[in-house]
């Protein structure tokens, strides 16, 4: 099962994108702006990875972003990044944990 298949089976996942740390787009689900999401989330992942290295936190595993209406989760799968928008935002903490443990 592909990363996208796995994540899009979750009802709270509204869109999903797979990319890598260089920002290259590898696939998407219901996201009309997948390339842009891939580029932005790659930059976020790279900068947070640098923070982790400098602060002794180790490798980045996941990122959750909460807004009033929805959430975004990004999980690292090796050299790939899987990111998804989540609605409602209250599902974010559990889904982040689930996806992080899903590899």
């Amino acid at each position: 099962m592909s990363e996208l298949d796995e994540v899009t089976r979750i009802p709270e996942v509204k869109t999903a994108t797979v990319c890598d740390f260089s920002g290259a787009f590898h696939g998407g689900y219901k996201d009309p702006d997948g390339e842009s999401v891939a580029a932005v989330m790659a930059v976020v992942a790279v900068t947070l990875q640098q923070i982790g290295e400098q602060s002794g936190l180790g490798d980045l595993r996941s990122i959750s972003i909460a807004t009033p209406q929805r959430g975004r989760v990004l999980v690292r799968r090796g050299q790939r990044l899987l990111t998804a928008t989540i609605e409602p935002v209250s599902a974010l903490p559990n889904l982040a944990q689930t996806l992080e443990g899903g590899h």
Partner: protein
């Protein structure tokens, strides 16, 4: 502002806390030994880049949580802080950080930051509170690390090095009264004191060490500048109960307090 960070740093697992302005300048910072001024500067620059990027996709972001192999980073968009403008509060911790406690503590800190310097206390009299730091950006009160010291609470490890702790909450603008329990705003009325103490006790299983802070904040919000009155007890209980995320926990808290009123 440092007083607020001090409270956050006393949470288990938290290693550093900082406040950044919209330009990524460090307005306040506190951290354990590894976090010297240079590291804070580097991290702040990267954080500013992160927030700018996140904003491209999520302009209204409220909370960013990054999970690492050996730790966790929490960034809360504070909004506009009086005299400082838009700010972000950042906590960096190890894997033992308790996320629910940290989330509650961040909410309390954000409320206090938004209220401004009068409410937040003045821990660094050498410079105006909330004023953006100029070069060097590190506030003197924080960059001057103190010798290693273990806090009386035993929460902080002996390796902790930072400036002397800021004044306790009682150093804020004079509270109406500080009861023996330490609850700001309590009155000499034994019933009120007992009630507030019981509130803290019943809240502690749900919110841990933040329970007293939450009750203090609620008392201040409900009877600003005046002694707490038992006529506000129901409102206070409802207000405080809303800080408990778990519906089951909230119900248990309400039941325990209502059964004794």
């Amino acid at each position: 502002m440092e007083a607020i960070l001090q409270g956050l740093l006393e949470l288990g697992g938290v290693n550093a806390a900082l406040v950044l302005d919209a330009d990524g300048r460090v307005l306040a910072q506190l951290g354990k030994a590894i976090y010297d001024a240079a590291l804070f500067e580097q991290v702040a620059g990267l954080l500013a880049r992160t927030f700018d990027s996140v904003q491209l996709q999520h302009e209204d972001w409220e909370l960013i949580t990054a999970q690492f192999a050996d730790g966790r980073l929490l960034a809360r968009n504070v909004g506009v802080v009086p005299e400082a403008g838009p700010c972000v509060l950042v906590l960096i911790g190890d894997t033992t950080i308790n996320a629910p406690f940290a989330t509650v503590a961040i909410r309390v800190a954000v409320t206090r930051l938004r209220r401004g310097p009068d409410a937040a206390g003045r821990a660094a009299p050498s410079r105006p509170p909330y004023a953006p730091a100029t070069s060097p950006r590190v506030p003197p009160s924080v960059s001057g690390f103190a010798p290693p010291k273990t806090s009386s609470s035993g929460i902080l490890p002996p390796t902790l090095t930072r400036a002397p702790p800021p004044p306790p909450p009682s150093a804020r603008p004079p509270p109406p009264f500080t009861a023996p329990s330490g609850l700001v705003g309590a009155t000499p009325d034994p019933a009120s004191t007992a009630f507030l103490t019981r509130c803290c006790k019943e809240l502690a299983p749900h919110l841990g060490p933040m329970a007293k802070v939450i009750v203090d904040e609620a008392v201040r919000a409900l009877s600003p500048g005046q002694p707490f009155s038992m006529t506000l007890s129901s409102t206070l209980v409802d207000h405080v109960a809303n800080q408990i995320e778990s519906p089951k926990g909230r119900a248990a808290f309400l039941a325990s307090l209502r059964s004794t009123r």
